[in-house]
Subunit: 342 residues, 2 copies
Amino acid sequence: MITIKKIAEIVGVSPTTVSNVIHERKNKVSAENYEKVKKALRENNYVSNMGGRILGRHGSKIIGVILNYSRRSEINIISDPFFNQIIGYLEEQIRMNGYFMMLYTSGSVSESLKLTSAWDIEGLVILGALPEDAEKFIQQTQKPIAFIDTYVDEKKINKDYINIGLKDFEGGYDVTNYLIELGHQKIGFCADGNHLSGVDEQRFAGYKQALTEANIKFHNHDFFGLDYHVKQRHDYLVNLVRTRLKDYSGLVFTSDYLAVDAMNIFQDNGIRIPEELSITGFDHNIFSEQCRPKLTTIGQDVRQKAKLTIKYLMREIHQKASGKTNILLDVELVIQNSTVPV
Amino acid sequence: MITIKKIAEIVGVSPTTVSNVIHERKNKVSAENYEKVKKALRENNYVSNMGGRILGRHGSKIIGVILNYSRRSEINIISDPFFNQIIGYLEEQIRMNGYFMMLYTSGSVSESLKLTSAWDIEGLVILGALPEDAEKFIQQTQKPIAFIDTYVDEKKINKDYINIGLKDFEGGYDVTNYLIELGHQKIGFCADGNHLSGVDEQRFAGYKQALTEANIKFHNHDFFGLDYHVKQRHDYLVNLVRTRLKDYSGLVFTSDYLAVDAMNIFQDNGIRIPEELSITGFDHNIFSEQCRPKLTTIGQDVRQKAKLTIKYLMREIHQKASGKTNILLDVELVIQNSTVPV
DNA sequence: CTGTTAGCGCATTCAG
DNA sequence: CTGAATGCGCTAACAG
């Protein structure tokens, strides 16, 4: 491995001069030396040793991306195209900013923070954090943190942080309202698990708001908490077809994944969609396109989410700005074929 | 950040003793000191600084996972659940071995190798490498490398490497043979792009072998190279429905993703599947389950792939073994509802 | 069993 | 504009 010292020897200057050339401090190096050093760096394929950087606390250039496993099951994380997409786009953005991405999955805040200090990580992106975990993260580290899709209670936190989310409430509202406009009155809400928080909670609130405005009363049994184990979920859905599914003309799902999964089970059990039941998803990912009927859903721009996340994180890292940043991106109602008027 | 030196001060021993405790060299530390140091480490939440490790060439504990973009388009990488799954499982295995995962996408071998030397990466996992890239990787670095699904030409390489793949030839053969057993004679082969290599080439060869054994002649026009741009691909498929799709009773696809995508387009254009056309996929991932009819496909154990990859990589890193390791995992024909006898 | 020392590569400070 | 010296944290070699 070629080092600054060796380059200095080759060219016949001091390591400092080489360092100055690397960092483009042209005002500190003569034009002649600058060129000579540049050439040597190129010819010898110089790559800086990150160990030296970390040790000298000159910045590790690592962004840690942490997948918080706590709520969703492993099965869903690995099956959900959203995670796939966002990780792909985050990597792209991190790389384009000259940083490196360390990917880590963990259910524990302290484990994640150990990672951070071991590597002197410059910034964290945290996916799938619950509000209480988010608070711990913010309190326990000085490093810039960007959450994606986490609802942090601003009042509880007096430090800076970034959150890039979605207008989930609006999404839940819009899609429900669309069903209402189509004449639906009996609309159920289906989510991952029984205890909603964060994103799903907001979508649920939006759903309820739409019902309220339309003078439709919500009953607790209109909420369907689905198991994330495939087998249990499918058994439950089949049972629903046999019992009280007929009480509903529309179902709002918190994700395309769940919607498509359920739609297939319903269809397998003789329910005609959308004729007998309208279904809506959320995400507008590949699932809502690769099923029939295609899903009416709420679209989000995943690439934009990744782009903004890294943009604000970089701003924070470079101390160009601070303060709380909480951006909720717009959603878009994508009307396809899984919904019809009643 | 707490360091070994500080722990040493706190306990009143030398840094070496602390280091020996950390590395569990019990024979070099008195039981009494061992306990005292252990306690201090715990209480102060000691985390080793990786910069020190890298700089001292004591092992960075980083595994670099490189996604080679060259062949498949970005769109497909991010849409294909296989990448999602394998990355998730690789991360899990890497973490369980006490290592860290650095994720990097790149089309260039030299860029990837720069990453390797900058971080003193201990081992590489390379996804989606073409055979010629694989050779470059192997020749240009001394670090242990594990490829996933790459067909390296053994004769050209005199260094060690690991490849964990699939019996792709067998998969292509089995699925085609199954169609033949169902009475199909006119069977097309559909792949990503016109120039096949690696995995798809093997699957194609298996398909042709099955035809040959059944005395079915293969013509060049039985091969369908699909565009990875969605729009172009769909236009092409729609056109196929109007023209010569009727010449075929079965189509073998190189992936579930392509198969489901095409199946939807065919169905949208009035083709009844499987009645009028049998379709097969490859991968047995979520797509083959979340479509109707469910796809007959070739199953692979993605988790096992990740597990073996890291197992052999670790073995190589710890110098416990060497030599070329080329393991092709078994495939399994998964018969579902997209195929019927003619 | 314990402690001292050296060196890994970088960027910065300070002296020229 | 240039260079010498320094310290970051860890581990291994070596001396006691």
